[in-house]
């Protein structure tokens, strides 16, 4: 154990001391530059393996315009260049990726090198260098044999990976290539399946040592739109067969190839909901278990600037509606951000990069996942930097033109080079993120003393055999970095594998290290890693402070297992497949704990249909639309057969639906004709209640959708059940028109009839303005009158209310009103003799959120009702705290008679608008007058932009808590906030089921959510996959299961179907989903 303060965490070793002078020098020429080869600045990779078998990891660097170089590790961080002696001299240039494989089975690592042949010398093809072993001086000698093996591909290659795709014992190859198709013109997604011989990806199957191109039969995409820059291999679904993640730059989707186990792949991301969104400009990626749950996760890096002013001068995503148009051409949602897809099992992933703290790392290339401090959790090193930032908006709009105007169309020659010189260069510091224990990362200052550089391929390798990973980085126009790890914390072991003859490196083997006080560490062995790079060095497994590992489980590529026990720290093991105990035959990693719920398909015949939102057309400055909020679902018996029936609200241009349950548990459409009269607006909520006290259940519906200001589309409806069916009671609500979010019924005045609360979250077309709320008194016949001003004046202008609850919160036998909403705190109105009074000083002052739902339940069984509230979550750029809140400014900033909505957030302590310059200046052209250049805009404060007077005189609302939380009632009218755990914050929570899932007498939670209609600058919130949380009996919650639900889920309600308990989950623009409890047959979710 070292002392962290005493010395640096990482030491950059000088080229003069290491002998590594390699530098990937590139220079523009008239014939070759960023204007005629789009990946001119993508850099080179690095590979490591013990090529001469002397026990030390050697290094191979790839170069674009120079000679690749091989360095022998002489020990003690001394290296010797041996390229020429090893027979590796190439004169044809433009190497991209390198990978390592022992293709001839002689036990010595071979090199497979990718080339961009069309820009290299005539006849250039990918190279396979067979390592024939060391000569008498210990120098490994190589022989080029690509053609012999059928691997002399000639085209736009990026990187290759060898793995045993069909588990026949030998290694097959995926060749990642990249398109040079004009990147701006995306066309149809279907282009990905029209083969392109130069740039389409390839799959080669090994037939007794010869590789045959079986691309067509393999099911992979190989079209001209694949800008393949990243490839990783891993068994994502734990079926023993390796799967693939392919990162594509620009508009093309990333591909997630599941191995079908029959020799083919299926890209499950092309039409599926498995990943949700991905990175947009995908560079390198990694498959690695970040949270030690034995399920490999996926990291893909992009170019989102971490620096605020770089962010504001960079090209950002299309406006919402243009983006939707692009998606309709056959693409999945992608956003400019790094992504971390946490693997939840069963091909369910939740993307959490923003929340995990790794979404932004500048123009990034390699994600290197390794445990640098031996705490058993893998950290993340990301390389970045670009000599020519082609997305700089000042360059795009202003600089480029003046330089190029007169020369356009002609061959610019030398002028072209001068023009390229004007491209802003972004020399940035690589970033090292420390894993703080599974899901989240920080950036410790000591770990981040990296000089600015243009860094590309990189890897983590223990160069001095001290059981911690050092770093090697290939740079453009600067010597490669050798970064010594001096952290000296924790313990680790190192494992070398020797596999079967056809796969001597045991590619595809899995190792799981178990040690006390640590979660198990899984490593699946695949050399191709870290962007254009390959790591075939020993496998490093951290074990924290344990001095002895309890056991090491090995699953060899053939599925056979091996178990070693009691391994002391700092051990280097060499394990041989031929020696392993054959008794320990096939072993399957068991990763899924017993689930509580299962996702069940029940076809109700109902599908919600909604229209694409137009709200960003009207106001591009809003963070999310106030449309597409439905449907909610009401459950109750409507035909007196004691079976639960279903009532769904309709989408815009769709009537509401009523479904009767049959005695067999099927659902039949029983929607009354009268529903068809109301399809103009969205049905936002409905109730099944007996409104007129005749013993028959009636239906109340409310509408919203932010389109109408008044009139029938916004008039609540009461459908009374009569002997002849449902009839609208026309005068039920008089002249009441409300863009409603919720309706709730209760007999608050104990007069025997049900009174109503109708919530509104929006004054139509005025995002952020305060709408009015309604308390309605039932006259007993289903006639409702507005008594808000007399009985609940505090309710009237309470805020943008999304949910209301009737509940006796203070246990005085009177029903109180609880309310949540956006830009407002959790609010309680106490039912007193005189009416409802807004409660003050109850510990909820700093709970201004973007709340969507509220539940009241006693979580700790102390007799005092607690609160559970669903919020926006932590998985976007937006963070809110008491001192650094989100602010909403409503003001006619440019005096044109219409109100501008400017929303700000704090980024690293600076308040800044979340909208882009383009969005803001289109609404407020005066901003262009003051800040035409993006650079000027990027450093302007809120006051600079909008003026003190505008900000001071605006209507301001704040939000200081975005996390879904519980509020524990301490019994004396005060509440204590406890944010729900990480998994609850990955997306919006729109509804919560409160129920005792594990029968321990304490209520547990099922959270559903997601929101698709949000600003493209914020991405898309799709990472709620049905979050099941168990209560520790004190109101603290832990993840029990991710249920695998998908889509924009709006509501969850318990329902009995055919005598069994279920939950029905409604989804916008989609069919409802059903959840069924497992294990306990006597389970009743209504309790």
């Amino acid at each position: 154990m070292g002392c962290q303060q005493e010395h640096k965490a990482f030491t950059y070793l000088e080229a003069s001391s290491t002998g590594i002078t390699f530098s990937n020098d590139i220079s523009n020429t008239e014939s070759l530059n960023i204007l005629n080869y789009l990946y001119f600045y993508n850099g080179g990779g690095v590979a490591t393996a013990d090529f001469n078998k002397d026990g030390l990891a050697d290094l191979y660097f790839t170069a674009n315009q120079k000679q690749d170089e091989l360095y022998l590790n002489k020990g003690n961080f001394q290296f010797e260049v041996i390229t020429g002696k090893s027979g590796l001299t190439q004169d044809d240039s433009w190497t991209t990726g390198v990978t390592i494989v022992d293709i001839d089975g002689n036990g010595y690592p071979d090199l497979y090198i990718c080339k961009v042949s069309p820009i290299a010398a005539e006849g250039t093809h990918n190279l396979l260098y067979l390592n024939q072993g060391p000569d008498q001086n210990g120098i490994p000698v190589f022989r080029e044999a690509a053609e012999e093996y059928g691997l002399n591909f000639s085209g736009f290659s990026t990187q290759a990976a060898f793995f045993d795709q069909d588990l026949d014992g030998d290694l097959d190859m995926y060749l990642l290539n990249h398109s040079v198709h004009p990147s701006s013109n995306y066309g149809k997604g279907a282009l990905r399946d029209i083969p392109d011989t130069l740039s389409g990806d390839r799959f080669y199957r090994n037939h007794d040592g010869f590789y045959k191109d079986e691309t067509a039969a393999s099911g992979i995409h190989n079209g001209k739109t694949g800008y393949g820059l990243g490839i990783s291999i891993g068994d994502l679904n734990n079926d023993g067969y390796p799967d693939l993640y392919i990162g594509n730059d620009f508009f093309e989707n990333d591909y997630l190839y599941l191995n079908n186990t029959d020799g083919t792949f299926t890209d499950i991301h092309e039409n599926g909901d498995h990943l949700g969104h991905t990175s947009h400009f995908s560079m390198g990626n990694a498959i690695t278990d970040i949270n030690n749950d034995l399920l490999p996760d996926i990291i893909s890096v992009d170019m989102l600037p971490e620096d605020l002013s770089t962010y504001k001068t960079s090209g950002l995503e299309y406006p919402y509606h243009i983006y939707q148009n692009y998606l309709r051409n056959g693409y999945q949602p992608q956003y400019m951000q790094n992504t971390l897809h946490l693997n939840r099992g069963n091909n369910v992933f939740t993307e959490t990069a923003y929340q995990s703290g790794i979404a932004a790392s500048e123009w990034s290339w390699a994600p290197v996942s390794a445990d640098f401090n031996n705490d058993s959790y893998r950290d993340l090193f990301i390389t970045n930097g670009i000599p020519g930032a082609t997305n700089d908006m000042d360059f795009v709009s202003f600089i480029a033109n003046e330089e190029i105007q007169k020369k356009l169309g002609s061959n610019m020659g030398a002028d072209e080079l001068k023009f390229i010189d004007k491209l802003p260069s972004k020399k940035t510091s690589n970033m090292l993120f420390q894993n703080t224990g599974g899901n989240e990362f920080t950036q410790p200052g000591q770990w981040n003393e990296h000089p600015p550089s243009f860094s590309n391929g990189a890897l983590a390798v223990d160069l001095d055999n001290d059981h911690d990973p050092d770093l090697v980085v290939n740079n453009i126009n600067a010597p490669a970095y050798i970064i010594r790890n001096d952290i000296e914390e924790g313990n680790a072991i190192t494992v070398h594998l020797e596999g079967s003859h056809k796969n001597t490196m045991a590619i595809g083997a899995k190792l799981i290290l178990y040690s006390k006080e640590n979660s198990p560490v899984l490593q699946e062995y695949h050399p191709t890693a870290g962007y254009l790079s390959a790591n075939a060095s020993g496998i490093h497994l951290g074990m924290g402070n344990s001095t002895t590992a309890d056991s090491l489980r090995v699953i060899w590529p053939d599925g056979s297992g091996e178990l070693l026990t009691q391994i002391p720290a700092d051990t280097t093991l060499t394990l041989q497949w031929k020696d392993h105990n054959p008794d320990q035959a096939a072993y399957t990693l068991n990763v899924n704990s017993a689930p509580l719920l299962k996702n069940t398909v029940i076809d109700t015949g109902f599908r919600h249909r909604d229209q694409p939102t137009l709200e960003f057309n009207v106001n591009p400055l809003i963070p999310y639309a106030s449309t597409n909020l439905g449907p909610r679902v009401a459950v109750g018996d409507l035909n007196g057969d004691n079976l639960d029936d279903l009532c769904f609200g309709g989408g815009k241009r769709q009537p509401a639906s009523l479904l009767y349950q049959t005695s067999e548990g099927n659902f039949i459409n029983a929607s009354p004709k009268v529903f068809e009269e109301d399809t103009d607006s969205e049905g936002t909520d409905q109730l099944i209640i007996d409104a007129n006290g005749d013993g028959l259940n009636d239906i109340i519906m409310v509408y919203g959708g932010n389109e109408y200001r008044t009139g029938r589309p916004l008039q609540p409806k009461l459908y009374l059940q009569t002997e002849t069916g449902f009839l609208e009671k026309k005068d039920a609500f008089g002249e009441l028109y409300v863009n409603a979010s919720r309706v709730k019924a209760a007999d608050y005045d104990n007069d025997g009839d049900l009174d109503l609360l109708i919530a509104s979250d929006l004054a139509t077309h005025q995002y952020g303005a305060t709408p009015v709320q309604y308390l309605l008194e039932n006259n007993g016949d289903g006639q409702f009158s507005d008594i808000t001003d007399t009985k609940a004046p505090d309710l009237r202008n309470l805020g943008n209310v999304t949910d209301l609850i009737w509940s006796d919160i203070n246990r005085d036998d009177r029903l109180d009103i609880l309310a949540v909403g956006h830009w407002m705190p959790v609010s309680i109105l106490i039912n007193t003799e005189k009416g409802f009074d807004l409660q003050k000083t109850n510990g909820l002052d700093d709970s201004h959120g973007w709340w969507n739902t509220l539940k009241v339940t006693d979580l700790n069984n102390d007799g005092h009702p607690d609160l559970v509230a669903g919020n926006w979550g932590s998985n976007t750029r937006l963070r809110a705290k008491k001192d650094t809140p989100l602010r909403l400014y409503r003001k006619d900033m440019d005096g044109n008679g219409s109100i501008e909505t400017v929303i700000s957030y704090y980024y690293k302590g600076t308040e800044t608008p979340f909208s882009s310059k383009d969005e803001l200046s289109k609404q407020m052209p005066f901003l262009n007058k003051r800040f035409l250049s993006y650079t000027d805009f990027s450093t302007a404060s809120m006051e600079d932009l909008f003026g003190r007077e505008n900000l001071d005189n605006a209507d301001v609302k704040i939000t200081n808590e975005l996390r879904s939380s519980v509020f524990i009632n301490d019994g004396n009218g005060s509440f204590t906030k406890k944010p729900l755990p990480f998994e609850a914050q990955t997306s919006t929570v729109n509804d919560i089921a409160v129920t005792d899932l594990n029968r321990d007498g304490f209520n547990d939670l099922i959270l559903v959510g997601n929101l698709y209609e949000i600003s493209t600058q914020l991405g898309r919130l799709d990472s709620n996959r049905g979050v099941v949380l168990l209560n520790d009996r004190e109101g603290n919650f832990q993840l029990a299961q991710i249920a695998g639900l998908t889509g924009p889920m709006k509501a969850i309600e318990p329902i009995n179907i055919n005598g069994s308990p279920y939950w029905v989950v409604s989804r916008n623009n989609d069919t409802p989903l059903f959840l069924e409890p497992i294990k306990t047959t006597d389970y009743d979710p209504k309790k």
């Binding site: 005629n36 491209l423 262009n928």
Partner: protein, 449 residues
Amino acid sequence: MKRTIYTIIAIAGVLLSSCSSDQTPITISEEHLHKSVEKVTEIMIHDIFSPPVASRIYVYPNITAYEIIARNTGAYPSLYGQIEHLPEIPASEDPEVNASLAALIAHMELSKSLIFSEERMQTFQDSLYGVWQEQNEREFEASKEYADQVVTLAKQWLGNDNYKETRTMPKFTVNSDDPSRWQPTPPAYMDGIEPHWMKIRPMVLNSADQFKPAPPPAFSMEEGSDFHKELMEVYEVSNRITDDNSEEVAIAQFWDCNPYVSVTRGHLMFATKKITPGAHWIGICKIASKKSGFDFATTLHAYTKTSIAIFDGFISCWDEKYRSNLIRPETLINQHIDENWKPILQTPPFPEYTSGHSVVSGAAATVLTSIFGDDFAFDDDTELPYGLPVRSFSSFNSAADEAAISRMYGGIHYRAAIEVGVKQGRSLGHFVVDQLVMKNKQEELANNQ
């Protein structure tokens, strides 16, 4: 002509050094006005204004300067009362005021308020102001003060034209299953620009739809339908002229006049910027004025009348564009005929029908013909700074016809948008000519030549 200015500077310098107390009258020539207009054009290119917005930036300074001349010299009749909403510009009461100088100052000051990069305009103004101040401080200050008063009035006037209000109106809706509806086009997939331009207050038109054209041929992808025939014509003409590299390609490029062309080369995306179609016709107006030897006031009147026609032309055209919301040939050809087809010109980001070039060229040519005559031959070097050659025309109308058809050669318009558009523009141009009394003797002379 630069030499003229330098000469003035030189003379001013000599006078200043020899007898600084004795100030000489300031002479403003038409060349000053040309320079000011050119400067505004140059800044507009830098700042990137869409064609309709550019037409607005031309018209207000021109009218304002024109009114100063009209009110103070009587060389031309005032437009007060002719343009309904134009406020009455008072004549100066200060005899020190030099009307041409005040007109020029007002032109520059008002232009500055309309473009973004004010400092670029300011630098240009400062260089002139410095000279004038030294040459004759009293005359300059008096003229400047008067110009500033007029500019204040003009700003109030233009502030009520609904421009500000249209900034926050809804964007064009692209989410639609209507196969005929306009969609954003490659490569930048920009929003439809100025979907509310028909709500801008026109100068002479009674309403935006006064010259509402006949609707385009009914949308149909059925072979043999009028619409489909026109679509195929665009595709086939474009392919033929590309293969032959014929004159038509040069014509298309000459009239491109796209203020924001998104170019992708390798990994690089950048904008190349040219003048707008309105600016091109302003340029032709300059060429004709110079060729005719027009003086300051006559030149100003020509610019003013031309820019009014262009301004109203865009309102009329945009009214139709966002009525018919017609899809561009590029979208349909890529969808149905040839996925890899690209038009010779980049498709501009707004609906197809009618063609803006056709309407504006028709309108501008009609007005120019009314000033300079029908058989006025000229060499058009407007596009020289953008790397394009000089083209020669025998008349404004023949130039307008070429500008219009160039849009089909460019692969961005169907024939109907061109033929109907030119007609729409010409009718509008005649209306402007008939409505506005802006003649003086010199102009009548020119017409009789």
